[in-house]
């Protein structure tokens, strides 16, 4: 039997959601009705506009509560990755590398293209890491090279070749006009043109990157918001062993 799920407000299956949005109209009773109507047009019912505020002469902000009848079958949902696979800890990863690989694993990472944000690659690679999760530089059995931001794809690949990297991490934070997809695609195309796609484990990361998106572009994995160094390291070392890379 299908396991249908709907949003839960304070009663099972009430379908309640909170929405906030703005409309390019002046605030007033017409705007209030427009906000309600637009929520109904989206398929909600019982739409209630609880807040309306003018933001300028031409724009108005709304907070709306509404209910939906739509649900989906929980049993048919597949996640971006397998939630039952837990990452190893830093110590476990180091021990795993010693036992199964027997040398330091070389990881090269950068934020590529014009993207100037180091925050993502730093969270994964810097000694200190992020949110009390140490970065790869702290891992005894990992040799981590963080090239920083605004690194051309060519430079990153050349560097990975020169340092015999096992894995390359490509970070993309800016997503305006799909620049992240463009940069990531170019990276894979460059590697393929050199016939070296198979030489490295390639991982894409960034707040808007999903495993599915990364796989579609040709990466081995993609890591999004909430990823820590151990998630990335676990993937790399397991994949290396799985594929017999030493």
């Amino acid at each position: 039997m299908a396991h249908i799920i709907r949003p839960y407000g304070d009663t099972m299956d009430d379908g309640k959601v909170q929405l906030s949005f703005s409309l390019p109209v002046p605030a007033g009773s017409r705007a209030l009705e427009a906000a309600r109507r637009i929520a109904l047009a989206w398929g909600f019912h019982e739409a209630e506009v609880v807040h309306m505020a003018p933001m300028s002469d031409e724009f108005t902000f709304f907070v709306v509560y509404a209910a939906t009848q739509h649900g989906i079958d929980w049993d048919t949902v597949e996640g971006d990755r397998d939630d039952s696979e837990k990452p190893m800890t830093m110590d476990e990863i180091n021990a795993f590398i010693r036992a199964h690989i027997g040398r330091k694993v070389v990881v090269v990472g950068a934020c590529t293209g014009f993207d100037a944000h180091t925050v993502g690659i730093d969270a994964i690679m810097n000694m200190k890491g992020y949110n009390h999760h140490y970065g790869l530089e702290r891992y005894e059995m990992i040799e981590a090279h963080n090239l920083g931001a605004q690194v051309p794809n060519e430079t990153l690949i050349d560097y990975a070749e020169a340092h015999n990297a096992d894995a390359i991490l490509v970070s993309q934070v800016v997503t305006q006009k799909n620049s992240h997809v463009h940069n990531l695609t170019e990276f894979i195309e460059l590697l393929e043109a050199k016939g070296e796609r198979g030489r490295f484990i390639c991982i894409a990361g960034g707040p808007r990157i999903s495993n599915k998106l990364a796989a579609k572009i040709g990466f081995d994995a993609g890591f999004g918001h909430g990823t820590y160094a151990e998630d990335v390291a676990t993937f790399i070392v397991k994949k290396m062993v799985q594929e017999g890379r030493k």
Partner: protein, 519 residues
């Protein structure tokens, strides 16, 4: 009026300023002896050189590129010589240069005559800057008491100047006192300034003189309607610091991001280049009455805000020293810092309060520029909004000068119009509600806040003594700032530095130094 709540020892603060002076002295000697391609281009801009080739190369770039082997004499005399030798009107000469005419092919005629012409051209542009400054001052006087305190600072970043204008006007109407147009990603690494109005950019909009003018006009409209001065801000940092400062002076910008070391650390621009460029650009900012904003907040995106708090204070002292050396007055020094401590730290907000109050007391006349949480913002917009409002609280309580409003959607997307609306509404609520809080509150002399401030000051002194001992450039090489290491000859723009020759001539520099009392 800043009241003393932390009882920081004056002799320690004086000692830090003395250390800053010693640390900066050898760098200032280097600066004095050198010019750069962008200093020369800024000089040409302040002689009125304008225009662009069909390939998009600005006239100042074409002139300086043609004069590369004469750079030690300064570009101004050669540009003026071309006017004398050809007898052309300036606009006509610029047009021919844009079409490929190489002024370096002309022999030097009467050098004295060329110098006098160059000085006259500079005076013409300076009088435009004087008029801008006078206009700003008259409007600030007319609308006195209408701005928020601290000034509320909002960013627009659509990539399209005409879209920016709509968002900026809405933001100003909503209550923003300061509008900053974020630049497109990587403009800081261009060794020229793009030309004309622009409608394409990534994560921001190109800083061009025409875009400055368009935004100025839009903000002035809102100013008149709201009877409140709206400050316009842009970013000087990068390979064209002096040129962007010149454009800002000509188009009456009011604030400019201008840090003495940001380009080195965070954009990998050569350190010699940045040091020379920042001085010239800051002299222009000083003369045009612009408030600079320094970039200490950036340190905390790569280093830990709790552990490395002293590097922020040390950098504030260095930025202050470099600012004085460029003729800036304390009221023009928007020294930066940020609310970036890990939100899981127990008493973290008290440590933030200590840091902000400490900065306030050490730099009492400076309009401190306080940045909101970014590093620890997540997709949880509800928690993010609370974090932003703790920041609003600390900022108001400690009397910061320029308050960059935090966005609840930080780390998700560039702000929606409604994100800004929520930011302004909640900030005004908090700030109005605690208007006089610090008149009512004193800190325990032996309490956590006072002890933390003293400890940060002590660590700053220790750190600055170390920097003094090994030298500023060596300290940067050793990653003592922001945990980032940069080599002296590495980074972008190194090839653009030239030692000034015996006969180096720069009428803009002389006029700036003379009027700022630096000569």
């Amino acid at each position: 009026m800043v009241t003393n709540k932390l009882n920081l020892p004056k002799e320690k603060i004086d000692r830090a300023r003395e250390l800053a002076k010693n640390i900066c002295a050898p760098v200032l000697d280097f600066i004095d002896a050198h010019t750069t391609v962008t200093v020369e281009r800024a000089t040409l801009r302040l002689l009125g050189a304008d225009g662009v080739s069909t390939e998009g190369a600005p006239v100042p770039n074409l002139v300086v590129d043609a004069l590369r082997d004469k750079m030690s004499e300064g570009a101004a005399v050669w540009y003026a010589n071309a006017l004398v030798q050809t007898g052309l009107e300036q606009g006509e000469l610029d047009r021919r240069i844009a079409e490929g005419f190489n002024i370096a092919t002309l022999p030097m005629g009467d050098r004295q005559k060329a110098k006098e012409l160059a000085a006259a051209l500079a005076r013409r542009q300076f009088s435009r800057i004087d008029a801008n400054r006078a206009y700003r001052e008259s409007k600030l006087e007319e609308f006195k008491g209408r701005s928020h305190s601290p000034l509320l600072y909002l960013i627009v970043a659509t990539g399209n100047i005409y879209e920016d204008v709509k968002q900026a006007q809405a933001a100003a109407l909503a209550g923003a006192d300061v509008i900053a147009v974020i630049r497109t990603t990587a403009q800081s690494l261009l060794d020229y300034v793009p030309y004309g109005p622009t409608t394409e950019g990534f994560g921001g909009t190109y800083a061009t003189q025409e875009n400055f003018r368009i935004m100025r006009q839009a903000l002035d409209e809102v100013m008149e309607r709201e009877q409140r001065y709206i400050y316009q801000t842009n970013y000087a940092s990068g390979l064209c610091m002096p040129e962007i400062a010149a454009m800002g002076a000509l188009e009456r910008l009011d604030m400019m991001l201008n840090d003495s070391m940001y380009g080195i650390l965070f954009r990998d621009i050569n350190m010699y280049r940045t040091f020379v460029d920042q001085r010239f650009s800051r002299m222009i900012n000083a003369y045009s009455g612009i408030i600079i904003n320094t970039g200490e907040d950036n340190y905390l995106t790569t280093s830990d805000a709790f552990e490395k708090a002293y590097t922020v204070l040390a950098s504030q002292f260095l930025n202050e020293r470099f600012a004085y050396a460029a003729g800036l007055k304390p009221w023009q020094m928007g020294l930066g810092h940020a609310f970036e401590m890990d939100p899981s730290i127990e008493n973290g907000i008290l440590y933030e309060l200590a840091q902000a109050q400490m900065a306030r007391e050490i730099f009492p006349e400076h309009p401190l520029k306080y940045m909101p949480p970014t590093k620890h913002m997540s997709g949880d917009i509800f928690k993010g909004l609370v974090m932003d409002n703790m920041f609003n609280f600390v900022s108001k309580a400690t009397g910061q000068g320029i308050h960059l409003l935090g966005m609840l959607t930080e780390a998700i997307h560039t702000p929606f119009m409604m994100d800004r609306h929520i930011a302004v509404e909640t900030a005004l609520y908090v700030m109005n509600g605690i208007e006089s809080i610090m008149d009512e509150i004193e800190f325990r002399p032996d309490g956590l806040i006072v002890r933390r401030a003293h400890e940060v000051l002590d660590r700053t002194l220790g750190f600055m003594e170390e920097v003094e001992r090994i030298g500023l450039m060596e300290s940067i090489e050793k990653a003592m700032f922001a945990d980032i290491s940069r080599s002296r000859t590495g980074g972008k723009g190194f090839e653009g530095i030239v030692e000034k020759g015996e006969g180096y001539f720069n009428p803009v520099e002389s006029m700036l130094e003379r009027s700022l009392g630096l000569a």
